[in-house]
Homo-oligomer: 370 residues x 2
């Protein structure tokens, strides 16, 4: 899955992405309070990423729940375009997918699109993207998935399974469709043009409804899949979208694996995390302490606060107290950054341990071609 190439041109509103405009433009639905209640009714629990609007939009999540309530299970599918090492922003949909998997007790497929990143990046070889696919897979496994109900698909490794499915999709998609959705031109390489059909393929790997938790920038691929599905006698994939995770340098974009300094990698050492946050994390604070104490900080644009909200502080009460203290000027930017640094390093200490263990587990997770 590309997390860089098909970036939405988000409508900016005072430096923030206007997700109302975005959903309208994309034709997706905002997650309503009724839908939140329905998810809670089925899972018995409220996930903070839902509650806080980190997952904010969907396509046909209601149908998935309706089927589920009638006893018809779905499966989950998400993925990653392995163009570099995993950063903490990538973990957002994976962690949420894991929660969905546990609560609904369903199968999960994780696709690593080594071919796509090879097509998209002139400087990367297939060996490079395969290497990154392996690295990214370790981070995915480290989140605690079980090999019994979770399979990792690597495109070049599983092409024997994917290609016949992708061919069904490809026959129903023409160049115009890809131009319209991805902005392809006559200069786009034919691997890239074909590729969306391979991202569609896992949607049809089981004969069940599929739900895809993913960054909203990936929605265009599945718009194509959803158009094609009925033409090949299949159900449309349902989607649930997370917001774009801001890079350290500020809101209005998303964390990119290609900007070294704007990115916390899952393999970063504690002192590296500390340095990156202190040096690069965009601050919503005032130019000096006096002004900050007087006027207060702006948590809405402060990247450290946003990281706590999106990922690192699931406790609403703790988050609210940080929010209020920062906004009032009681908490300084340095203090806020200190909280985030501690949270990230706590998380990464455990994650990196599990990531090491994942090296011995990866074979159990790899999808085997039938």
């Amino acid at each position: 899955m590309s997390t860089e190439d098909f970036i939405v041109t988000p409508c900016h509103d005072e430096g923030n992405i206007d997700y109302d405009k975005l959903t309208k433009r994309f034709g997706t639905e905002r997650i309503s309070s009724e839908l939140l209640d329905r998810i809670k009714k089925n899972t018995g629990e409220d996930h903070f990423m839902l509650r806080r609007g980190v997952f904010f939009s969907h396509r046909e999540m209601n149908r998935i729940l309706e089927d589920y309530e009638k006893g018809k299970k779905f499966f989950l599918y998400t993925g990653r375009g392995p163009s570099g090492h995993t950063h903490i922003g990538h973990l957002v949909p994976w962690v949420f997918a894991k929660w969905l998997q546990e609560k609904f007790d369903v199968n999960m497929y994780f696709q690593l699109t080594d071919d796509e990143k090879f097509y998209a990046k002139s400087n990367l070889t297939l060996e490079d993207t395969k290497k990154f696919a392996y690295e990214n897979a370790l981070d995915f496994i480290a989140l605690g998935f079980k090999p019994e109900n979770t399979k990792i698909i690597i495109n070049t490794r599983n092409i024997q399974t994917l290609y016949p499915i992708a061919a069904q999709v490809a026959k129903k998609v023409n160049f115009s469709n890809t131009k319209g959705v991805f902005g392809f031109t006559n200069e786009t390489n034919i691997g890239m043009i074909f590729y969306t059909s391979l991202q569609s393929a896992p949607c049809f790997i089981e004969d069940k409804p599929v739900l895809i938790p993913l960054g909203v920038d990936q929605d265009p691929h599945f718009r194509i899949t959803r158009d094609v599905a009925p033409k090949i006698g299949k159900q449309k994939p349902a989607l649930i979208h997370n917001i774009m995770i801001p890079g350290l340098e500020g809101p209005g974009g998303k964390m990119s694996a290609s900007s070294e300094n704007g990115t916390i990698y899952t393999t970063d050492a504690p002192d590296v995390v500390k340095k990156k946050i202190n040096k690069y994390a965009f601050s919503g604070g005032q130019p000096d302490i006096e002004q900050h104490r007087k006027i207060g900080g702006n948590p809405d644009v402060d990247v450290s606060y946003q990281y706590l909200r999106i990922f690192f502080e699931p406790d609403d009460n703790k988050l609210k107290s940080i929010h209020d203290d920062y906004k009032s000027g009681k908490m300084l930017t340095g203090e806020l950054k200190g909280i985030l640094i501690e949270k990230i390093n706590e998380f990464l200490e455990v994650h990196q341990e599990k990531r090491e263990k994942a090296k011995d587990q990866i074979d159990q997770f790899l999808y085997e071609n039938k």
Copy 2:
């Protein structure tokens, strides 16, 4: 390999294809008498298809021979688009390829492009094209290839091997290139757009020079491959082209598997062959016997004579006597057709027996993904 979709728009000259104009337009080279001599020097033998200009054009055949003379072996690659049953016209490049294989003692790959025919034909499923691939493979094996040095590639079956190679090609080919070569439009499906990279893949399956005997209408695919090869650090494939085999209804075109009556299938019974030739084979004779005896027939446009020339009468003396007798009016069209019918049925009797045996041999020929 498509034998229908990328038909050259041949320049017609009094009902015949003008192969001089064609080679000029395609930018290929006519096979010169020097090249014929060089081939003969290496093989110790003259093949009637070369002598008679059935194979008439090439790209870099000289380089292949130069390397061979220095002790560097090449490998052979040809194929077929399995959109229907095999007809006798398909056998021309296969029979010639077999001769090359024996004389040069080299490996041979035969690609069956079930995916391509699925993309190209709205009425065919992948199951249909796979079934035809199997049927076509039997005809190929029946010609006497040996499993030790001959492997059959079926695209969906061998995609695990083909895709990583195809990806290298696909990255270097853009939509403009395919528009220019195949006349693709915005409405062309993305499977078809990508497909040429899969037809390129077997060119690079061994780290040796490759020679491809093929119908001249397939040249466009390998024009793309030849452009890409140096960009991915590989040698350009060399080609040797046969003319387009006319359908029963007449010269100026090629035998098509889609026209039932214009086609002799390898599975046709003797009475079917007799009926088809007598009823449909375009005649170079005169309207009535009197005129024929007086003016004589025209072997150049007579399909029965051409089939003898192209495939069924390797003996030059016998062919010349048929030619002269027909041209002088001594031989009537019915007699000429009788000769061809006998020749085809003799051939098919043996072929169909071997084709039955091929059903037990096919597994040994199928390429196994590494």
